[in-house]
Symmetry: C2
Amino acid sequence: MAPNETLIYLDPDSELSLQAQIRQKLVDAIMLGTFPEGRRLPSSRKLSEQLGVARNTVVLAYQQLVDEGYLISRERSGLYVNEKVRQDRVGFEGAPPPERTLSPRWRERFKGRLTPDAEFSCPPNWQQYPYPFIEGQFDTSLYPVKEWREASRLALGVREINEWAGETGDADDPMLIEQIRTHILPRRGIQARPEEILVTVGTQQALYLAVQLLVNSKVPVAVEEPGYPEMRRLLARRGAPLVYQPVDEEGMLVDERLDDCQLIYVTPSHQTPTAVTMSMERRRALLEQASRQDALIIEDDFEFESNYLNAPHPALRSLDSEDRVIYMSCLSKVLSPGLRLGFMVAAPEVIREARKLRRLMVRHPPLNNQRTVAFFLSLGHYDTFLMHLHETFRERWIALRRALNYYMLFYAELAPAQGGSALWVRGPEDLDDTFVAKEAARRGILIEPVRHYYATDHAPRNCFRLGITGIPVERIREGVLQLRDLFHDLTANKTETFADARGEHLTGEALRAAVTDTTMICIIAYGDPCTIEICPDGDLVGIAGYSNEDRDSGQWWIANNRWHRRWSRWAWGETGVYDVRLDGDIIKLFDEDGWLIDRAILRRNRRDDAADNDDPGGDTELA
Amino acid sequence: MAPNETLIYLDPDSELSLQAQIRQKLVDAIMLGTFPEGRRLPSSRKLSEQLGVARNTVVLAYQQLVDEGYLISRERSGLYVNEKVRQDRVGFEGAPPPERTLSPRWRERFKGRLTPDAEFSCPPNWQQYPYPFIEGQFDTSLYPVKEWREASRLALGVREINEWAGETGDADDPMLIEQIRTHILPRRGIQARPEEILVTVGTQQALYLAVQLLVNSKVPVAVEEPGYPEMRRLLARRGAPLVYQPVDEEGMLVDERLDDCQLIYVTPSHQTPTAVTMSMERRRALLEQASRQDALIIEDDFEFESNYLNAPHPALRSLDSEDRVIYMSCLSKVLSPGLRLGFMVAAPEVIREARKLRRLMVRHPPLNNQRTVAFFLSLGHYDTFLMHLHETFRERWIALRRALNYYMLFYAELAPAQGGSALWVRGPEDLDDTFVAKEAARRGILIEPVRHYYATDHAPRNCFRLGITGIPVERIREGVLQLRDLFHDLTANKTETFADARGEHLTGEALRAAVTDTTMICIIAYGDPCTIEICPDGDLVGIAGYSNEDRDSGQWWIANNRWHRRWSRWAWGETGVYDVRLDGDIIKLFDEDGWLIDRAILRRNRRDDAADNDDPGGDTELA
């Protein structure tokens, strides 16, 4: 058979004539598009030889197809598929058909059928939205094109091809193992021997392998609540009894609820989905508890290099002297999810069993990619690029935090994240989160409802994650502003505005007298305290954070009966112009559109020792 | 943390002093090789800052390591790892430890542990053996380096990266789907819509998915006997009752033993491991039986393009009007097993479920490889390269068949293969096949025992597969000769040689009179009949095959009391020189070393109408 020839099989037992069979097969091929556009059909002589039929049979079949418009004849050139026929066919270009109800025929065939995903799904054209606050979407503009090409070129050397092209049974590329061992793991404090490392098709495969190996319906497993839905689904397929362990600002709780668990799944670096980093104390407590009850731990370090506020914590696996921790991570955040390259680090016994199972599943992850990534690492591109990425994401994360703090103070959800790639906001109450997400998308803003991370009924109402992996830094502020406006629009009658807020509208000298030489005490987004000293000389001194780690200075003044302030860095160094109301000891600042921007306790400064016996308790609730 | 810095974590609660902890972590890093060779250690000032300890603590730890020989100090340069320490350590370079007995601790952890592979395993350095008759090993000298590089380069364009690098959920590359649909499947007679195709990490994943979806302990499944061991293993893991269905020269038998099967696994193109092609009649019977009992069929078309003697048969899926066939194939035979790229074609319902499960397993096969292969296909390289590969393998296959026919007539196993990448030989009786394979390997010949393909006790004694995918054509004849010599050596006293054979040694005129104007009737390897007419004028006319499809002519003569013959093509066109014995009507030819080369019934030609009443039955057993 010559290349590119369609195999037409004629059935001698068919009730159709040979001519009709030829015609039928050709029509199928044309309509299904298996006969590529613009290709000339074989001559009647050639096709008749190939099929072993009389030439006239083919000639007649062809003629009929021309008559019917399937084929067109071009002079001195031959017969071609008439593209019009195909274009007329609805849905030809292979749009997947809508998910139909499964016919009974198939329903009973499928064993242990997967429940449909209740999951949020990001639109495929998310990059065309102006404000894609979507976590986990890879910003291809950050892809290290030049460096990846260099690594690819090296992996395509003849000697390299000799090493990766062959059948290796179930082995990984030793060069990649060595690079992971010496280049990636030490950054997480992990020391591993080659036989403790297995390369996987993304973290997903590492999770699948671990669950298959270690879990059945008799193994109680603890998962974080909220937590990673796909892990829950994997565990549910094995019938494991699940313990949904709550998460606080130090990560997953370690308490008696874990007592019966034989396996504990955690995401300590940045908890999925809250992005909370597990504290060192909690890490140690977890390892101790696991040791007491002889449990294993799966440490999913899917996002291991994005701590923006503090030094990174060492991985659980690096603190584990009893080989209890099965560590997994991936290169998707750095080298694109499309590559699907992850790895697992565990006791050699676990790796050996996982390798056997991996062999049955896929044999091994593609070796050309393993070698290319090995070169990418060995050339030092990984380190360079990681630094670049870290810097980029840190900038975005801080921009998002700042914008939320300014525009969305009353929507920001308390979660003491130190990094990661998402922050939380709480949308307007009493609205369906799917509806809100849809409305936001209509305005070009993509946000992710968090409900699907919860297995129990404790999902907070109408919460969203705002991710930074897909949005350029210069769009973040505007995106948050637009989202705030949407929230306001959706709750038009309920939000406090200048017009309907309680408290006396301060103007002129009353305003000056009320604010001069005072301190505003407020809580900024994510629960950090903040004090702003309003000095008599027009200076502002701002101190934020639990350790006073964030400081700024600025000026304030009054003009047109409005309070003005300008920070050097905070609020983008721009001048803010506010109408002010004072409600007891609560000062409220409204922007020019009447939206509430800030709310704080106002205290007269101590140095003048004036009477100052307001009760700071009572009605000073802030969030 | 600067790139490439090892994370050292000091435990404040440790009983070790800070200095001892630093020392310990550094020794670990040095001995495990996580601290790369030739890298300077951080200065004591830098490390003390990083760890938050007094500088002197680090200085003292360093000093001790220098004293102990772990570090060496180079003047004006700093401290370095002393490479000698590492070199002295046995097995440092990460040779995997021998498979130990699993400690009880792990044994009870692993659920549904995989049994160790009883499988034959090819030595990793097989390419260094002169005669690697190993099936499935990829001959990297055949890799389409230039074409693959071109496709890779295209897939590394910025626009392309944008398409494959991102998170796509569970979708495949639409370009690859289109290429499989229009470029690969039509060659097998299959017409498929996009929603009927799923890309997999090799055929292995397609099998895994199908088994997970369709099989549990209540689903009886038929497999071929002998058959693919990894499929048996996959099915055994699901607890499926298995029916071991025998294979004959038309492929898997279709009979009442299949009656209760809900799923039937077949390899119709070239049966694994016999390489038999399933006949059209058998294919139709199989589909009919499946239809009658509402069973599904998995068609594993792992080797779909290697029929060397006849036109290819259409795939079962192309003959299946009831959507019962789940077709799977891969690009490993063409584009190297290292790539791990396969695909599945089935009813949209099956593909949809398989996609959900694939998502949990690996999300999707790497998209950069999907796009590269799509370009490779769309550029037409696949067709060109396939033709080249087909031609190369055909040449090797025919060379192997010819050499077996000449040297190994009495060892060749009957199996009417029309293609595929392996042929069978039966080794000497009464010897352990593992022993024979090992002895062969000592002489540089790699052959694969077939026992592990059998699930039941019916494995033929001491049979081997000789594969052609890894051996250059010019080595085949010599390899077969060497293997024959090994077989002879292993059975020194049992093989018939010239010295001890029965029958009269013919010389001079007696020899001429005996052979002139006769016909030798023999059976060549693989059961095909062959007749050789020995004409009075010194001509030879040879006709072989059931349809007399293989013909050759040559000359014969007598010199030095030996019979000489030379074919135009057969026996490489070389002159064969034989001592001849006649035992009744059986003529035996021995080569110069005394080894039996040929044995045939000798008939006087009819045209002289002479008395010719020998009984051709009785002692004329040939194989």
